[in-house]
Structure formats: structure tokens, C-alpha cells
Subunit: 463 residues, 2 copies
Amino acid sequence: MSNKPSIPKGTRDFSPIEMARRNYIFDVIKKTYKKYGFQQIETPAMENLSTLVGTGGDESDKLIFKILNSGDYLAKADEKALQEKNANGLTKSIAEKALHYDLTVPFARYVVQNQNDITFPFRRFQIQPVWRADRPQRGRYREFYQCDADIIGSDSLLNEVDLIKIIDDVFTELFQGKLNYTVSVNNRKILQGIVESVGEQDKFEQIVVAIDKLDKIGIEKVIKELNDIGLSEKSVLSLMDLLAVTKGSSNLYEMALTQLEFLSQKINNTINGQKGIEELEFVFEKIQQLGLKTAHVKFDPTLARGLGYYTGTIIEVKVANFPSICGGGRYDDLTGKFGLKNVSGVGISFGADRIYDVLLDNNLYPEFKGDSTQVLFVNFGEKEQDYCLPLLFQLRDAGINAEIYPDKVKLQKQMTFANNKAINYVVIVGSDEMETGKLTVKNMETGTQEALTISELIEKCIN
Amino acid sequence: MSNKPSIPKGTRDFSPIEMARRNYIFDVIKKTYKKYGFQQIETPAMENLSTLVGTGGDESDKLIFKILNSGDYLAKADEKALQEKNANGLTKSIAEKALHYDLTVPFARYVVQNQNDITFPFRRFQIQPVWRADRPQRGRYREFYQCDADIIGSDSLLNEVDLIKIIDDVFTELFQGKLNYTVSVNNRKILQGIVESVGEQDKFEQIVVAIDKLDKIGIEKVIKELNDIGLSEKSVLSLMDLLAVTKGSSNLYEMALTQLEFLSQKINNTINGQKGIEELEFVFEKIQQLGLKTAHVKFDPTLARGLGYYTGTIIEVKVANFPSICGGGRYDDLTGKFGLKNVSGVGISFGADRIYDVLLDNNLYPEFKGDSTQVLFVNFGEKEQDYCLPLLFQLRDAGINAEIYPDKVKLQKQMTFANNKAINYVVIVGSDEMETGKLTVKNMETGTQEALTISELIEKCIN
């Protein structure tokens, strides 16, 4: 093989600097999750195909990467499907395993499988890659990381409050107050109430699909779509009227509460609507009492986040010019598929890859000096090398990242190496230095040199 | 689906306590790698199948998990293979991608693909899962983690010295001096010299395969195998004599050097043998000068580590009653397959899963208190909850992991929750506490209670 090697479409390598940035994001999210009492778990990349299919609908099933059985996989292949060259029909008989396409379904499977060992309410977080056979495009990958936190086994709306506070904490730290972001909140029951109050509950799912597109295609096209579904002009107008709750004060919590109050009067004839409004009022009141650091939180009755499995609160976080960077909500029956009924959960997921791009575009990464090599000893040959080796290990034993250039090559090449690797200090040891015990230490940022003992150098690096 | 859900054979879920233990191992390894100037990269889980096959031989190819192409994968299937139900022949045409089975081949591919952006010598580390369609058994999984460090683009034996020092640093920290372990070192060229000196270089590979089994099947069966290969009795005796270098002092470095000296006299008629001995002498001399903290290092001329791609130094780490927990060596032409010739590399890989078991069996894990929730507020109802919420967030903003029980349930249930989650302090707030502002704080380990203000509690948790 002499072709230039490549990687599959939609996948990526991560270089050292990219890893440092990613780890920075993961560390902020992990630390925050732990602060809120969440515990980390991991599930295998591979699940049984039967665990994954039929959870998110046919479209989702197509996105699942299947793993070919090992050995003579054709021996047990579905004969009829094979004859008819029916790929869809054949798959199940030649691929028992598949890569998970999200972390929610594996988590539901985990909860059911380990229900006797778990203390509920269970706060778990999970940061792992997921795989989707999606068409790759800018910002959409076939292998990407999700950072999920869920609370399972508690109906309390305090969990929703915690999740919004987590979002506030994470983006306050990552954005350092330099970037505006909006946390939109809705409740699936309010959407139901709105649709019921205009008497179109039979078309609920289609209406939600249409409303979900408001951001993307604009109000006129949504109205056309609603007409196409078969809604009367009166219904469409009432619907649009109810969704257009724009009144309110300039304080966002108060505005949200005013909007909810306004909407309440219109849909108080529906049980779902009233329940949804009560739930959201509780969340907004608590958030108002506790305060937020940098998040702009708002009530958005048009927020649907697809059909999915949400049954209560829905949350979505956006910054300008980017798709959603975090989202989540409450679901009432996630584990039902695996035989455990009536367990309510609520969770959020940070999109690490999009957050990565947001921070890069807005120049919000800190410097990662401590992560790479701090000190390089140049290599002038055997004698100098033998003098430097014990000093090198003194630095390392003091916890300082250090190395010696392993080969005796031109100084210029060694200095270029130090530059490219963004090393802070280069130690130059020749016959003078070996005689005096004072090392020549070059600061690579300022270009200045000074003579230091090894102890002085250690002190310099640690402070 | 109402069956109890399960996961594929040979894969595992990791619970919170298992995650804490694994992260502890990863953190020690990561920190040490960084101390030696290694930088982290990640490569995708999926590679093109053509990148992976033909690198480790036919047996390795069978261990690769292939990923079924998306969509109508039968449309482009190899018609002949399909007709003949030849699974082996069909695979390439229906599965273009596969899961990597180690981190070395993806790294070689990465180096070639990014050669213009990399500053050599390149010290990289990589900690990721790998997948192998192996028969699962105790201690052998189909999905497991590797922790690799390699230096590529330098022939210097100082790199070998660094790797042995890394092994010493990692196991000194993980084993805390409470567990003996041996670092066996050999050089592939010494093996070649030995075989050449008995005039059996034509059978080198078969001889290495036989010698590699010494540990497993014992000397008599190895001798039988050598006879079966067609070695004369004289050759076998000479071979066994050369491999049995047991003379030497009780100091391990000196013993190794004595053994090397002894062997040198016997195989100094072979260029490979002399070269291998010179290389190992350099490594042992440097290690002797620098010293080791806890590692017992020894020269083992029978160490082969399979046929693999090693061409120089070979390293293997063992503790009693376990298979190898770390291994590695030097390879001269890893990137050749991808069109980049003459780039030498040397590396090691820690087996995180085996190290996990070693630490567990020997009771060597530290307590992971800081990782989980430190403080739980019990929930007596709405009024108490509203009083506690701002206090809860004071703790969190001080960096303390804390939560409130989200629902008003029996105290007993909340205390059981705290116990199961190994929470340090439980805060009990009733009407008395709300009046005085002094919280009742129960130490869950000692069972004692005290009355503390929120500031006093914060101080207690931080210290």
C-alpha cells in the first residue's frame, strides 16, 4: 500500500493542541457535574443491535453503524434476504452488534440491567463518543462526543432547576462572560395545551413537527405547512396568537412569568396546559430566587426539540451563528422498552464538538502551558548528556514536565524543536556550565538568558 | 422487548466506583507521560479496513471487527463471493470500515498522514479503547483500554531509558512500594545473535515462537518443539546454554551487565549479537547511574514477546499471578506500510484492565472521597427546601460537591441514600435550624452531629 493513508469520512484525528482544548472543555463539564452530585459511568461502544433499534424510529435506525458478526457470518444469514439481495432484511442475521448512536439508550439499558444495585434517584454523567451514519458536513461528524447528565427516579422539578444552574455554571466558566447565550425553556405539556385549546389535538405530532421549524424556515412557511396539514384558518390564527407571547418586562425571569400568566388565561381549559404552566412557573420562580451568573433564560412556547421522547420540560441553549450547543428535557418512560415502567428522568447533553468551535471562533481558550513540556535540555554529546541526565530527573521528580533532546544534532534543529513544541525554557549545558554548576537557561518567550542552579530552575518552573 | 437487557459478550459497563478506580489509573499514567514530554493525541475508533488489514498477519485480521456499510450495502457486494457464500471473500465489498484493534497502527497512519505538521522526534501518548473479536475469557475482553506512549523519529537509546523510568514512576505510585514487580528487558538482535551463533538463522522465526513459550509450557516441551522444527541435538544444547545466563551478582543492574558480558563472549562472532549487547549495555548502565525507585529490572534473553514488529529492545513488566501488565519495544519500520520509510520508533503500552485487577486484588486503591458528593441536604418539605437551596449553592460555588434530596420522602430513605452514595455529611434543617441559622450536620462516618453555620460547614469541607 503506497497511497497516502486517510481516515473514514466524518471522522477526525485530534492533534496535541486539539486534545488540550477538548480536555479543557470536558474537565469544566465534569467538574460541574460532580459539584451537583452526578457520578460518572461508561457503557461499551458496542450494544446488541436489538437494544438500539426501534427506540428512535426508522430514521434513527438507519443512522446506526452495524458490526459484522465474526467468523463465517454467512452460515447463519437469512437465506431469503440473501437470495433477494435485500440488504435491510439481511442485516439482523449477519450483524448482532452495533455502535451506540447516543448515550441515552445505553443509559436506559444500564439502569434496567443494574436496577438492584443503583440507589435512586440516580444522578449519572457520561462522556463518550457516539457514532451516526449521517451525511457528513461542516460541524456534523460520524463520530463525536456527547456529555450527558441525567437524574432518573425523581419527579421533582428541583432537578430541572439544577440542570439550568449547571448550564449557567459551565458556560460562565467557558465563556468568561464574554459571549451571550440564551437558555430557552418550554414544557411539552404547554404545547399540548395550546394545541388542545384550538381543538386540534388529533394533529398534535404534525403540528409540533411544523412548529419545530419556525427558526429554520420562518413563520410564513410554517403557516403554509399548517394549512397543508388541514388546519382551518381560524385554528392557525389562534395557534399563532398563543405562540406569540412577546409581552413582558425587561427582566427575563419576570418576563417569563408574565408570559406564563398570560398564556395560562388562554389555555386554562386544558389539564395539560395548566399542568405545564404550573411546572414551568415553579422552575422560573426558583431560578429567579437563586439567580443566574451569566445565562439569559427565557420561556419559548415554540421550542419543541423534535418529537423525541420528551414529556415535560424542554431546554435548549444557543449562541449567535451556531446550532444548539446544549439541550435536554424530561421524559416519563425511558426505561419502559427494557421492562422497567414508570421511571421518570430528566437530563441534558452538552455538544462538545460545537462548543469546541464556539470557543475557537471567539478566541476563548486559555493558554495550555502546563500541559506540554516546560523544560528542554539540549544535547551536545555524550559527556554533556551524562551531566544533564540526573538534573533532568530532578526536574521530573519535582513534577515538572521536562525532556532532553535524545540525539546530538545541530543546536539550530534543537531550538526549532523547542519552538514548535512551545517549550518554555531551554537549558544549555557546555563545558563552562559543567564546571560552574550554573546552567544557562533560555526563556523561549522573551529570548533572555540567565545562569541558574538546578534548584533555582525548579523554583522558577513551579512558581 | 421485555427480556432483561444485556450487553455483548466480552464488553463491560463501568459503575461509578469502577470509573473512579479506572480514572485514577489513567490519571497516574497521563501525568507521568506528560512529565516525560509526551503529548496526547486521539484517532477515530473507525479506520478504513485497508489501513488495518495485513499489518499483524492473518490471525490479527480475523480479530478485526468490521463495520457494515450503510444503506443498500448489497448493491456493491462481490457477486461471486455472494453466490459461493464465501464470507471471507465478501467482507471487503460490504465493509469498508473497521474498529481499530490496537493504537499502534492508527498512530503509524497518523504520523504518515500528518508528517508535515509533526516536529520529530515526536513523543505522543494515546489512551483509548480498542476492540478485538477474541474469544472472551477471564481477564480478556473484546473492548478494553490501551495506554500507549511512543517516541518516533529518534534512534537514541535514551528513549529506552526514559520508558523504563516511566514504568518505574508509574508502578511506584500505583503500587506504593507494597508489591514487587519485574521489568524484563531483552533485545531482538541478541536473540538473532544467539540463533546465528548456533548456525540456525534459517529457522529464526520458528525458534523465537518456541522460546516465547518457555514461561507457559516449560523447558522440556520447548526442547521437544525445537527438535520437531529440525534442530540438531547439539544446536538445541548450545541454544539452551546461551539462553541460561543465570550467573551474576545480587544487584540486578550489575547482574544484567555481568550476564551481558558473559553472553558477549559467546556470540561476539555475530554482528547482530554484538550490536544487541552494546545497546542493552548502554541502557543498563544508564539505568544503574540514574537508579530506579521500586522496579526490579533484569536482562532476560528468552524474552521474545511474539514475532510482532520489534527489531531492537523488548520490555515486559510482570507481577506474580498475572499476565504481563505493560510491554513494548523498538521497531524500525512501523510507518513503511503507509509509504514513509526508515523511521524508527520505540514505545510501551500499559494494560489498564489488568492493572485494575492487580490493584483490586492487592487492595491498593486509595479512597475516592473527593470524587463523589460531600454534602447532602435532607428534604423535609417546601419551606425547609426553600431555606436550604441558597445554602446548597453557596457550597457548590465554593467548589464543594453537594446536593439536596429532590423529593420529600421519609428521613430513613434519605439517610439510606446518603449511606449508599458514601456521602460525608448530611445537613438536617428543621424549624429550629431555620430560626438559629445553625445547621445540624451529621458526620456519616463517625455518626456524630454538630451545629454549624454555612461558613463553618464550607470550611470543614474544604480542609
